[in-house]
């Protein structure tokens, strides 16, 4: 039983992470942080590396919650990675951040959040920045 959170270093991601830490400490459940990349771009600003990764670990440790940081580089979409993590860790709750999207943007880019909302087997908490 655990809580899975999709994390990217943006305001939405931070909001989701903060909320997930709170949820995890009240429920006393282990927290699984997923920060993935498809690995198909040269530079992915949403992927947390070296210094930033250490900092993230530090923050999680400071929160006192039992935690795991997953950083899959598997060529899959972020939605798949979060859903996979939720399944393997038998999540009670998935926390994600939402950002504002124009209808056109949604049409072209598809939506990670939307896929998680539709396909998750457990409740999903969507946090806005």
């Amino acid at each position: 039983m655990s809580i899975v959170v999709g994390y990217i270093p943006t305001p939405e991601g931070e909001a989701a992470l903060e909320r997930a830490i709170r949820e995890a400490s009240t429920a006393e459940a282990p927290l699984v942080v997923v920060n993935s990349t498809r690995g198909d771009v040269f530079v992915d600003q949403r992927f947390v590396q070296s210094d930033a990764a250490k900092e993230l670990e530090g923050r999680l440790a400071a929160s006192g919650v039992e935690h795991t940081l997953l950083q899959p580089v598997g060529g899959h979409d972020a939605a798949d990675e979060v859903l996979d993590a939720a399944e393997t860790h038998r999540a009670d709750l998935i926390v994600i951040g939402l950002r504002k999207r124009t209808p056109v943007g949604k049409l072209i880019m598809g939506s990670t959040a939307q896929r998680i909302l539709l396909q998750a087997e457990c409740p999903v908490l969507a946090v806005k920045a």
Binding site: D40, F42, S50, V73, G75
Partner: protein, 573 residues
């Protein structure tokens, strides 16, 4: 002042709005391909060859010149921001440049690289203007025996000096020469290696070969070993330098230029040695030697200037003698042949307008680079967000399109595929591609000279060394071939000495106190007595990332080895 007049005429050709536009496109494309990992100026020029068919040769070469200089510039940008030296010549820049960027001085590192490139490129081009006519005069006075000797020297030097394994270099050279044989013999009309294929009678299209080796082979090779992990970039603002940075930069720029130009002009001189020499010199002369290894601006300014000056130097033998000494120059020579222009000493006489417009456009391109790129650095960093599949699919797409557009024959695509697979296999098994391309370009010219030489001597083989220059050049060829053997013997006697000479002390040093990721740098090669390959640290993970990879066992032991070796080197010096 004849040269000056010609140069001014060149400027008037190069400064027409159309040609300025091509120069602009050239520097933009060049910088873009320099920034993008996996694509370099040689590949970019090769891919553009077919597109430039219908252009004026002058316009095409103005664009190519822009790509050449732009590629240098773009390469230094990525080596500073990403610590991924794309070419061996920017390895040194990456050492101090990336450290500067990490400590928040990316703007100054980029600025000193850009302005240094401009200074060195401009001085280098001026040196080209000053020296090329002399080289041409000298070359024109030579007979075929000497010219043949010089071609042989160029072939041997590129094959034997560059790259790790001589044997594999000569294998690649042999393949290139064999490809150059295909088609009807120009003297007798005899068909060689045609196998009854009418499409082969005209020989293999040099554009198709260049695109296959540089674009298809490279794209397939990268696709087979695609890096899946994103690199880590350092955000930049607009590059700028303070007064103190200027003060610390200008001398290294000039010294770097002085190292770079002559090495670039030598066959097989390349850019690695001068950038390294510049680095060592700056370290020695600096008032802040303690900053070296932690982001010293001199360590970016000097090598970056040396790199660009060597690029200008490379153009001297290319334009004055028709000898390519690096991949981009080789592809540009292929372009000359494609346009029906015979490269060689007579080029300055037969195509003065083209040559001088090209040289003038180097000055223009250099200035454009500075003007465009200082403000655009953040935009270039954005280019790295391009998904890899699109980049490599695009390379294959344009390679196919270009090779097909030459003759509109699917047969050319079969050749493209076969030679692309050859290029893939060569990369897989460590056969360098440069000797192949240079053999392909110079082979037919060597044969021509050989025939004329022996025709003049009525078949007497002594005609080969009938000129003093030819004798001298053959002696140099012998030295190039024998020197490494002699060195090897000496090294065996003194196994402890650092005879490799060009072992970049600095590289090893930073590698040790780096995040322990620049694996297997030059220092390793002392043990097996092989030549130092400055680009061998590409094999490691130079991106300075990946905590999980970096903490691997092998890295730890490697770092310790290196630390010991460095300590040893320090004691010596």
């Amino acid at each position: 002042m004849e040269t000056f007049d010609l140069l001014m005429q060149g400027f008037s050709t190069a400064a027409t709005p159309m040609n300025l536009l091509y120069a602009f496109i050239g520097v933009l494309l060049g910088t873009a391909v320099g920034v993008l990992p996996g694509i370099g100026p040689a590949m970019a020029v090769a891919l553009l060859l077919p597109v430039t068919y219908s252009l004026e040769p002058t316009s095409a070469f103005i664009m190519f010149a822009g790509i050449y200089y732009g590629g240098m510039y773009g390469g230094s940008t990525t080596s500073i921001l990403l610590n991924t030296p794309g070419e061996s010549s920017t390895v040194i820049t990456a050492i101090e440049g990336h450290k500067m960027a990490k400590s928040g001085r990316a703007a100054q590192a980029l600025a000193t690289a850009a302005i240094g490139s401009f200074v060195a490129g401009t001085i280098g081009t001026a040196l080209l203007v000053a020296f090329a006519p002399f080289v041409v005069d000298f070359a024109v006075s030579l007979g075929d025996p000497s010219y043949l000797a010089i071609i042989v020297l160029a072939l041997i030097a590129v094959t034997a000096v560059l790259g790790g394994s001589k044997l594999r270099g000569f294998s690649a050279l042999g393949i290139g020469l064999a490809i150059g044989l295909v088609g009807a013999d120009p003297v007798t009309g005899q068909q060689r290696l045609v196998f009854g294929q009418p499409l082969l009678v005209d020989g293999l299209d040099i554009v198709v070969v260049a695109v296959a080796i540089f674009a298809v082979g490279e794209a397939l090779w990268i696709a087979a070993h695609l890096r899946r992990k994103p690199m880590q970039t350092i955000p930049v603002g607009r590059p700028w330098m303070g007064k103190k940075d200027w003060k610390r930069s200008w001398k290294p720029w000039l010294r770097g230029t002085a190292y770079g130009f002559p090495f670039g002009a030598l066959p097989a001189g390349g850019a690695e040695i001068p950038t390294f020499l510049s680095y060592v010199t700056e370290k020695k002369l600096s008032k802040h030697p303690e900053e070296f290894g932690h982001g010293a601006i001199e360590g970016v300014a000097g090598p970056e200037a040396a790199n660009n000056a060597s690029a200008a130097g490379t153009l001297t033998p290319m334009l004055a003698l028709g000898l390519p000494t690096n991949a981009t120059a080789a592809v540009m020579l292929a372009a000359f042949i494609q346009f029906g222009i015979q490269p060689g000493p007579l080029l300055f006489d037969s195509e003065p307008q083209l040559v001088w417009a090209l040289i003038a456009s180097l000055f223009i391109g250099n200035t454009l680079l500075l003007l465009i790129n200082l403000p655009l650095a953040p935009v270039w960093a954005k280019l790295l967000q391009l998904p890899r599949p699109y980049l490599y699919a695009g390379i294959l797409f344009f390679a196919t399109l270009g090779a097909y557009a030459v003759n509109l024959q699917a047969f050319d695509l079969v050749i493209l595929l076969l030679l692309g697979l050859l290029g893939f296999a060569m990369r897989r098994y460590g056969l360098p591609v440069l000797p192949l391309v240079i053999g392909l370009i110079l082979g037919p010219r060597a044969e021509e000279s050989l025939r004329t030489t022996l025709q003049l001597s009525a078949g007497n083989i002594s005609g080969l060394w009938s000129e003093p220059v030819a004798v001298v050049v053959y002696i140099i060829v012998a030295l190039v071939l024998l020197a490494p053997l002699v060195l090897k013997v000496i090294r065996k006697r003194r196994p402890q000495s650092v005879l490799a000479g060009n072992v970049p002390l600095g590289v090893g040093e930073t590698a040790a106190d780096n995040d322990g990721v620049v694996a297997g740098t030059a220092t390793v090669s002392q043990r097996d007595g092989d030549r130092v390959r400055p680009d061998s640290n590409r094999d490691g993970d130079p991106t300075g990332q990946g905590p999980d990879e970096a903490s691997g066992i092998s890295d730890g032991t490697e770092a310790r080895h290196r630390a010991e070796e460095i300590k040893h080197e320090r004691e010596k010096s």
